[in-house]
Amino acid sequence: MHFILMLVALFALLILGVPIAIALLISGVLGYMLTIGIDPGMNALAQISYSDVNSFVIIAIPLYIFMGQIMLKGEAGRDLFDFAQRMTRRLPGGLVIAAILASAIFAAISGSSTATAATIGSISIPEMIKRGYDKRMAAGAVAVAGSLGILIPPSISLILYSLVTGASVGKLFLAGILPGLMLALLFAVYTVARTAGGSFAPAASPTAPAARGAETGDEIPPLTLGMLGSLAMIVVVLGSIYAGLATPTEAAAIGVAYALVLTFGVKRTLGARLLGLATLDSVKTSAMILMLIAGASVFGNTLSLLRVPQDVASWLDSLQLAQWQFLIAINVLYLVLGMFMDASAAILVTVPILLPALQALNIDLIWFGVILVINMEIGAVTPPVGMNLFVVQSLSDDYTITDVLRGSLPYALMGLVGLALVIIFPQIALWLPSLTH
């Protein structure tokens, strides 16, 4: 009953145009007050908001957003994509594919979907639009490919999953690599198919001369020092982790420092005024995402208090299904949960309850972790709580959520294809970890 009231309040607030973070906070605290009382609710509101934002690994989000803003305002993004254009010039939709590739590479730096989407998006989307790519396709590719951040290691979600299930983090990380690359490939294949068949989907193909030019061979940018410097960003950030200098979260600050040196010092494309703007704009985006985290945590906390995910999961458990039936049911459950909940919340709330069922049905926990995370990736681009939708939408004033959503949909469907492949062929996930024994 309280749950229904919460949902009604949430949707009423959303329709009225109240910011989503506040709508989640209001409906979450409302359900909480109805269940426990007004005074505890008053206490819990700020307390939960505080404790869920107060997490060191979240620091990567503002720092990677800041890095992206510096690269953007310092025009390093253009360098990166000029280079990507050189690399992918023979492919139709080259820049979209470059953005997907960049997301997959960046995912090896970042453990979160939102940070990946924000960084690659702030660099690539303006470039793609400038070069005449369909703006929805540009947004969709980045929103969905950004979610590779939690599948390709390192991954915050896989670490949480390991904590709850006892499955090895190392094996989970290995298991995420091939499915992550496969998804990137599926996204790229879709992009080629859409943009190559101009008659099949004219709206999705690049229309401006610049974009066509890349395919016909003229206007190919020469290789510059700036390009190499921008590319080296990935080497510097990854290198700092692999050399043991910094943790995955701290590496974001190294990325910021490198971006500053590159644009402020070497290329001199970023002056004091632009740096100020870059900082203010990164505040704007970071705080928006951080408040969504606060809102999602208060809302999710009340859902667990009302035992909504628990009830659904134990009901599934009670059906006594065969392995394949169970997996299908679970995927439906996670696709629905993914609409409303953040990945971390969904894992922490449901996996402990499903664990006995998984063990009873002899489902490999490493494999299931990968399946779960792919579901969460899709959840990041499904409304109403779709973090990557929000992130990409916030990157440009021209975007409405509907634009991003419609652009994401085909890529999300490719994600479903990838999910099905991993379910049918578990080796895609399990082959790499099997080599360690």
Binding site: L16, G17, M42, F56, I58, P62, E250, V283, S286, Q393
Partner: protein, 186 residues
């Protein structure tokens, strides 16, 4: 869905100068929040880099770790006020304004009452968190032993600044001058 930029305001002509003046005063709070949060972003970057440096020189870095977390909290809640000032918190983007036509001002008022009412509750809630942390002399658990109220103070301060930003937008709207949120954002 889109961010909460209002389509109601008409840029240029200011019909009610007194209201516009009041709007400007509240607007300063929003700008100040942005400047503070920007300084905190730079501090956060420097602090994380310093933590890496200290560790690699085998020096205890627990104080930079605490500073990182404190900066994050201030960035989140004070930054949220600036995001509010810029009108960049994401909304569902369903545009009821079109249904209401000229009565859209009623919708804007209703939205203001909900958001501002909530923020007032949030300020109170944040204040109690700050206050109890202060009373119990709560400290971080490592050697640095920082007083935690410093971080928790961001809750009421950020909430109040956000409330000021919302008041600014409403006054600017009523005054007929463009609220900050309709200025080009990037």
């Amino acid at each position: 869905m889109s961010s909460e930029r209002s389509s109601l305001s008409h840029a240029g002509s200011t019909r009610r100068p007194a209201l516009a003046g009041a709007a400007a005063v509240f607007g300063w709070v929003g700008v100040a929040a942005g400047v503070i949060a920007a300084a905190i972003t730079l501090t956060l970057t420097a602090s994380v880099l310093l933590g890496i440096t200290l560790r690699s020189m085998s020096i205890d870095n627990s104080w930079t770790y605490d500073l990182d977390n404190f900066a994050l909290i201030w960035l989140a809640f004070v930054g949220a006020a600036y995001t509010g000032y810029r009108g960049s918190h994401v909304t569902s983007g369903i545009s009821l304004e079109h249904l209401f036509g000229r009565g859209a001002i009623v919708l804007a008022l209703l939205r203001f009452v909900l958001v501002a009412g909530f923020l007032a509750v949030f300020v109170y809630s944040g204040w109690t968190q700050f206050h109890s942390s202060w009373m119990f002399n709560e400290k971080t658990l490592d050697i640095a032993q920082w007083p935690v109220w410093v971080a928790k103070l961001a809750l009421p301060v950020g909430g109040a600044a956000w409330l000021a930003a919302e008041i600014h937008k409403l006054l600017a709207l009523l005054a007929g001058s463009a609220p900050a949120s309709t200025e080009p954002a990037d």
